[in-house]
């Protein structure tokens, strides 16, 4: 990825926003030079966009590594935030969470002492939700201990697109973290659902990547959580001629697969932005 780039926006702030999204980083990793300040014009006609030149200075490797340990999961971060802690730009966590290749195995010894309590909380949540289920502590050779929910009502445990399972996991972890500060986020599976889901996601990511390449149009996946978006990024990374990017905020955040432009510059296809530029005065290309 190149580190210097020019961004535009209605105002300088908007342009910076664009830059943050583009590099998926925090404000302090950007050096910003203002080229022109924007002016609104009359009723938005004849206004000029603000232009800035941005130099992206990523934090050093060590810093990122230590940060990863602090926030091994996005949920962990949000769990703290929900309790009123300070927020760093979510995009930074996002970037580490999603695009990091399988690094060194995560520290899972830490989770061990909390497993029984997690099991208890989750069992109680399920019982109070009128769902007959058994929660077992199981061990994954790569990712360490996790909770496995077994139930006759599996579809109710999992919910549409895994949303029930996600909610149970989130609330259970939130409660656990309230009791034990710094406790790692504990994974919750339901009879192999997570693996099945991962395979589904990767298959549809690959299919849409091919579609993007053939059609030359960007393809959007359905909204997913950070973990699932990461599967998409990693699956598409191996395919040439396309790039991925997460767009949207919160619940509607999803991955878009862009076909790469021939002239290599940047992360390729952003047809929408280009069109907008042209409409609003198209400084560069017109006449």
């Amino acid at each position: 990825m190149e580190t210097q780039r020019i961004f535009e926006g209605k105002t300088v702030d908007h342009a910076i926003e664009e830059a943050l999204k583009y590099f998926e980083c925090t404000r302090d990793e950007l050096e910003v030079d203002v080229i022109t300040k924007g002016s609104t014009g009359i009723f938005g006609i004849g206004g000029r966009k603000a232009q800035i030149r941005v130099n992206y200075v990523p934090k050093t490797q060590e810093e990122e590594c230590s940060k990863e340990e602090e926030t091994p999961e996005r949920e962990a971060e949000e769990g703290h935030v929900a309790q009123g802690a300070e927020v760093e730009g979510p995009s930074q966590v996002e970037m580490e969470e999603e695009t990091r290749e399988e690094g060194p195995p995560r520290e899972h010894l830490e989770a061990e002492p909390f497993m029984e309590e997690a099991q208890e909380i989750l069992s109680e949540l399920l019982r109070l939700s009128n769902i007959d289920a058994t929660v077992k502590i199981e061990m994954d050779s790569q990712n360490g201990p996790y909770l496995n929910v077994e139930s006759e009502d599996l579809s109710l445990v999992i919910g549409k697109g895994g949303q029930n399972l996600g909610a149970f996991k989130y609330v259970m972890n939130l409660m656990l973290k309230r009791r034990h500060e710094g406790c790692p986020t504990i994974e919750v599976d339901a009879q192999g659902y997570l693996e099945k889901r991962r395979q589904q996601i990767e298959a549809s990511a690959r299919r849409l990547a091919e579609k993007a390449k053939k059609s030359g149009r960007s393809q959007s996946l359905e909204p997913m959580n950070a973990r699932e978006r990461r599967f998409v990024h990693l699956a598409v990374k191996r395919i040439k001629g396309v790039t991925t990017k997460s767009v949207g905020e919160g619940d509607s955040r999803r991955v878009v697969i862009y076909p790469q432009r021939r002239r290599g510059g940047g992360s390729g296809g952003r047809p929408r932005q280009r069109r907008l530029n042209r409409q609003s005065g198209g400084r560069d290309r017109r006449h």
């Binding site: 949000e78 949540l125 009128n130 919910g159 029930n164």
Partner: protein
């Protein structure tokens, strides 16, 4: 379902004694009203309403078995 919300809310707030949950039962729909201390409101709502949303998701899973619908109202 009242018990469920009570269990979750009490575990998340600083003032569990101030947690109040009422269930208003209708024929098909139940309304669960959750009241917490003012300074705990953020804890049951969460960033971008994430905690509230998770509670609602769990609540609707809980009501499926009862063949009912349940609505969570967080009172200020």
């Amino acid at each position: 379902m009242k018990e469920l919300i009570e269990y979750i809310a009490k575990a998340l707030v600083d003032n569990p004694d101030a947690v109040e949950v009422n269930e208003i039962e209708g024929e098909q729909t139940s309304v669960i009203e959750l009241k917490v201390a003012k300074e705990d409101l953020g804890k049951v709502i969460g960033r971008q309403g994430r905690t509230a949303r998770a509670m609602r998701t769990i609540l609707s899973a809980a009501s499926t078995k009862l063949k009912k619908r349940a609505v969570l109202e967080i009172l200020e």
